[in-house]
């Protein structure tokens, strides 16, 4: 019984410690959401908090004209998703990502970044 009480107390103490994250949420992006970069990027890189399933994870990027400028299927390795971008001008770029984490849960999100001081 003492052993069980000891183990139960470990449970309570552990909950007071900072937790790690699970699920595939966007951890950081390059270019970052809300940031302004001087020149149009040639690639968008997204890092997530969990490993992704390449077959069902996608990203769409639209340029200032509203046209899609991503070069199709992203390259996915572990928790990182990369996609090449076609040349486009200054303005606001919109990113919409859809991630399937390896624990079978889907997440999605959007953000924008700016090119050329807008």
């Amino acid at each position: 019984m003492r052993t069980l009480i000891f183990l139960a107390s470990i449970f309570v103490v552990a909950l007071g410690m900072p937790a790690a994250r699970a699920h595939a949420f966007l951890d950081h992006a390059t270019p970052a959401g809300g940031s302004t970069v001087a020149a149009p990027p040639q690639e968008l890189s997204l890092s997530f908090t969990q490993n992704l399933e390449p077959s069902f994870s996608t990203v769409e990027v639209t340029g200032p004209s509203g046209d899609r400028i991503d070069q199709g299927k992203p390259q996915i390795s572990g928790n990182t998703m990369r996609v090449g971008l076609k040349a486009s001008g200054p303005g606001t770029y919109h990113v919409h990502w859809h991630a399937l984490s390896v624990d079978t849960h889907t997440t999605q999100g959007s953000f924008a970044f700016h090119v050329g001081g807008q």
């Binding site: 069980l4 183990l7 699970a22 809300g34 606001t92 919109h94 390896v102 079978t104 889907t106």
Partner: protein, 438 residues
């Protein structure tokens, strides 16, 4: 629960735990107990027949429930309807190119291999081969332990990527060794009967099951703590989220099961072992049999909760979803995530007309972010349209609100949050948010 995924998971988990539980019970409890009852082989045969039925039914149900589970998960992964899963090769893609699919195939092979071994392992004559017992127990442990790859435990980064799945595998095996073996224990106690010859087997079985139970409960507590640390993370998340509250119900049931097990171990088992007091031993036998059935029923409830927990977003990062359960059905929601801070923006109702906006600010460490002042700008989808800029008001919970915003047209609006964090310190977040037509 209207979600078919809940039923598929609950039935599959229960069946897999039952199969592994029967195997562990036969190897570690029943066969050693029957060595003490050579004078009454009929009891051993009767128990073996019933355990074989439970194991075979469990295996068939595990195989049968695996199919709808795969289909439902494939639909969820791909976002495609049922008809497209085979016609577009989605099912094959899921099976061959995802961790869940690979795990499903592995478990199919394990279940088929166990079926082959069961032909000899579940013989009415009993299993004597040490090799057969070892291989069957290992495959049964793999069948139930590999369920970890179909849940929240996988996909973590760094140390979590190893520690969390390992803890979950052990958690599942320990659950099978204890909760999964309760029904076989109840069966054995029922079949042995209160007469002297049967009580000998009941005594040995109860003693051995107590040892198995103590080891399993200790493993469940340790590995459960690791799981809770990764998936709940804080006491506030334990009480403030659906996941946390459901986990508390599971822990309460678990504590009840441990309480009954402790009573069995400290009070009933010693009485059962007293050869001198036959009446006391028979009464203890009846209580043990009843308690095993009660514990098994509580274990079934725990499995139903586990099936639900696997569907819910873990409490440790519910806020990253913007608490999906709390988002009204007619609201538009956007989570804006940058390296300097994050915002959950809810527009309600999320269609053309007059709406209210609620903003929840977070810092990069996922703590609530204090701001001195916050301004919301909503720019309409049409180029040249006039943006709406309004100051937000903070409520007592720390949420920022802007009411009475006139959303004139549907489409992709651009929402911008400008927060004053301190002297010369600002946080600006921007993202599109979809506003529907009325």
């Amino acid at each position: 629960m209207n979600d078919p995924l809940f039923y598929a998971r609950a039935i599959h988990f229960a069946a897999s735990i039952m199969v592994a539980g029967v195997v562990f019970f036969i190897v570690f409890v029943a066969e050693p107990a029957f060595r003490h009852t050579k004078d009454d082989a009929r009891v051993a045969v009767a128990v073996r027949i019933r355990l074989a039925w439970i194991a075979w039914i469990g295996l068939i149900v595990a195989l049968a429930s695996g199919v709808p589970w795969l289909v439902i998960v494939a639909e969820s992964m791909s976002g495609q309807p049922l008809g497209a899963l085979t016609s577009q090769g989605i099912l094959w893609t899921v099976l061959t190119q995802t961790d869940f699919g690979n795990d499903w195939l592995l478990r199919l092979v394990l279940a088929c291999a166990l079926g082959g071994l069961f032909v000899h392992f579940l013989s009415v004559k009993g299993v004597t081969s040490l090799g057969l017992k070892a291989v069957t127990a290992v495959l049964a442990a793999a069948l139930v332990g590999s369920l970890a790859w179909a849940g929240h435990a996988i996909g973590g980064q760094g140390v979590e990527g190893f520690v969390h799945p390992a803890a979950d595998v052990l958690h599942l095996i320990a659950a099978a060794a204890w909760a999964g073996a309760l029904v076989p224990l109840a069966v054995l106690l029922t079949m042995t009967g209160p007469h002297a010859a049967g009580l000998a087997a009941a005594r040995t079985a109860t003693q051995r099951f107590s040892t198995l139970g103590i080891v399993s409960v200790a493993a469940l507590l340790l590995t459960g703590t690791v799981n809770a640390w990764y998936l709940v993370g804080s006491v506030s998340a334990l009480t403030g989220t659906d996941y946390g509250r459901l986990l508390l119900v599971k822990l309460t049931l678990f504590a009840g099961m441990v309480g009954i097990a402790a009573f069995n171990w400290s009070r009933l088992t010693p009485r059962l072992l007293q050869n001198a007091d036959a009446t006391g031993a028979q009464r203890a036998w009846r209580q043990l049999r009843r308690n095993a059935a009660i514990e098994a029923a509580m274990g079934a409830l725990v499995i139903c909760i586990v099936a639900t927990l696997g569907i819910l977003p873990p409490a440790s990062h519910v806020h990253e979803h913007g608490r999906p359960g709390a988002i009204p059905a007619d609201a538009s929601f956007q989570h804006i995530h940058t390296e300097n801070g994050m915002a959950d923006v809810t527009v309600e109702p999320g269609h053309v007309g007059v709406a209210g906006v609620t903003i929840h600010l977070w810092d990069a460490e996922e703590n609530a972010l204090d701001a001195q002042q916050l301004t919301l700008t909503l720019a309409p989808p049409t180029a040249g349209g006039n943006p709406i800029t309004r100051p937000a008001v903070q409520d007592s919970d720390g949420l920022w609100h802007v009411d009475g915003i006139e959303l004139s047209q549907p489409g992709n609006w651009m929402v911008t949050i400008d927060a004053v964090l301190g002297p010369g310190k600002r946080l600006t977040l921007a993202a599109p948010i979809v506003i529907d037509a009325k």
